[in-house]
Subunit: 353 residues, 2 copies
DNA sequence: CTCGTCGATGTTAACGTTACCAGACAACAG
DNA sequence: CTGTTGTCTGGTAACGTTAACATCGACGAG
């Protein structure tokens, strides 16, 4: 009597697909196991016998198999193990610290970061977020606040953790990990007032370009009014990105005004550094003739002469905490009560004020 | 006689899925068309009648539908409209120019950039590339050369355009758009030799950290030997990333050597800037006591005093051309003959040499 | 008046993976 | 020797989209 051999799927049924990228069934055939066993080796290796797992691992190496997150994500929750992040500009190294923290936090949970650059355009930001959402990421981090209602409703349906990291002034859409631009700017302004400066200039990127510039301006004006001073429109200027613009606006506020500034607070980009360099070119004493303060503690700020007074934003920590919150949410951990986390800032007083 | 109404799929068959993210079938139901028509509106709108398209567009807005690239990519070529890029560090603004160019070029073709950061780790780079490949991108841009054989075979099977942008010294794995680190370093070294410097120091990141450092060192040594000089190991130093390290190594090569350097070529990171700042702190005349040259034309290089002599790498153009090549390849355009494109560099001579 | 063509829309069957359940078999208690 | 439990592995049906083909009128040539 001939015993009929039980036919199982992993016998010969799946056609060899030479040349093309290996699929899970190719690995299964080589390892002489079923598809499901390969799938398990990749996702829950503990549930597979050691010898089997080794055979499968060898087959994976042999075939050069790369997991297909499209198929996998489609079938399971509909999510991929990617967190998307959108920043206004990757050229600006300030955002880089946050991204580093974020990537580090996510790595611990096997999540990867996919980064996009909106180039300070709201339309591009929306398009980018939609493009990323189409990849069904596990989470989203945005540097700007979510404002458009279209975006809000799309994100609400996506049902993924969304973290805003650029400012803390509004009620967050979902989660926020950040600092208060308004409070930080007010703190620096008070510092300048305490030092005795009264004609304080303010330079930032255009408030039309980014909401943060407006928040900082508001903080600046509030602090002045607290001290009984009325902000002088003559001493408020906008600058384009880049070192050189810091120098240009410094000269404008100090040398081209009937009543010149005795201090200038550079609230955006790397303008503070450019201003220090320009002051030296002009032969101006800093802070004797004019004090200079900046918003961000860029790497070169303590190295330059005179060293630059500035605010230190815990950028790395913001990114890291954002990542932690996303992971916690994905694991279904009870919400850590607060949806908005304020990581604060520090005033670093150096020689320039 | 009651005429039986023809039953079509878009009647009532698909269950309403309230709350959950909208699917294409939800849009189809709302717009009273079939699934395929919705799909066509999204991908080839010309093939759909205007009135129909408008109905579908309205339904898309109403439902808040977001395309599912997982399902779409899975069914079609198995690709998503994303190009993945992997750089050693997003903190380093030098890579940012290339990424900007890349993103700009890709945008023209409806492609998005997804960026990852390997943190200068080969293992992490490989893991990151695998993770991105699992999302089935349309192309891949890597800053470092593809070296490991495991990665090479995986990428070969992926059958997507791969562009290396960090160096041009090796035969590219697939495509390369870059410049020659060796030639650039040699050019700067010859410039210093022409100026009459003979004890030229060389500072870079560890050649173990990145292949590019080794290429630059080789170019430096080659140029010296051409001029009949033997490189002095006493004048070759490694530095960690960061401004401060530039200052430290400058002091080391100038003040801690029996026969001090009369010029130092900083081949990595922002060390050149740090060195200029340190020289001023020390009260050293630049270039009188020691000349300082740097590899990269960072934004601040012309602003500082003395302005820094350096090499200008066309970073934006490299990114843009890399994007163009990827798009051309995806469209099946005949290979523009050359697989390796050399976009060169320029020597910018300023006051520091 | 018929037939072929063309443009707009619809139907069906995949794409490669994983959730869910079922089967096989070993170990062990009674 | 039987029944029960537990561990490992396998079969099958989705997930939401699109390629390929099918259908259905309208329209013009012959």
């Amino acid at each position: 009597m001939i015993k009929k051999q039980a036919a199982s799927t992993h016998d010969v049924r799946s056609p060899r697909n030479d040349g093309a990228a290996a699929r899970m069934s190719d690995v299964a055939r080589v390892a002489r196991v079923s598809l499901m066993t390969v799938s398990r080796v990749l996702r829950e290796p503990d549930k597979v016998l050691d010898v089997t797992r080794e055979r499968v691992d060898a087959a994976i190496r042999q075939t050069g198999y790369v997991h297909n997150a499209l198929a996998g994500g489609l079938r399971s929750q509909g999510r991929t193990k990617v967190v998307a992040a959108v920043v206004p500009s990757v050229r600006n190294s300030l955002f880089a610290g946050t991204l580093q923290g974020l990537a580090d936090a996510l790595r611990a949970d096997g999540l990867r970061l996919a980064l996009g650059d909106s180039d300070y355009s709201k339309a591009e930001e929306t398009a980018l977020i939609r493009a990323f959402l189409s990849l069904r990421p596990s989470g989203l981090v945005v540097h700007d606040a979510i404002r458009s209602t279209a975006l809000r409703s799309v994100l609400a349906r996506a049902a993924i953790p969304v973290v805003e990291v650029g400012d803390l002034s509004r009620r967050p859409f979902d989660l926020a990990v950040s600092y208060s631009n308004r409070l930080a700017a007010a703190t620096m302004t008070r510092h300048l007032l305490e030092r005795g400066y009264r004609r304080i200039g303010f330079v930032s990127l255009s408030p039309r370009l980014t909401r943060r510039a407006l928040e900082r301006l508001t903080g600046f004006e509030t602090a002045l009014r607290e001290a009984g001073l009325e902000p002088d429109p003559e001493l408020i200027a906008e600058a384009q990105p880049g070192f050189a613009e810091g120098g240009r606006t410094l000269v404008e506020l100090v040398a081209r005004r009937a009543r010149p500034a005795d201090a200038v607070f550079f609230a955006g980009d790397v303008h503070g550094i450019g201003a220090i360099l320009e002051a030296r070119r002009q032969g101006w004493d800093v802070p004797g003739k004019v004090a200079i303060a900046a918003f961000d503690d860029v790497e070169i700020a303590p190295e330059i002469t005179p060293a630059l007074t500035c605010l230190r934003i815990p950028r790395y920590e913001i990114g890291f905490e954002a990542g932690r919150r996303i992971i916690a949410r994905l694991h279904g951990d009870p919400d850590e009560s607060t949806r908005a986390v304020d990581l604060g800032f520090r005033l670093i007083v150096r020689a320039s004020t």
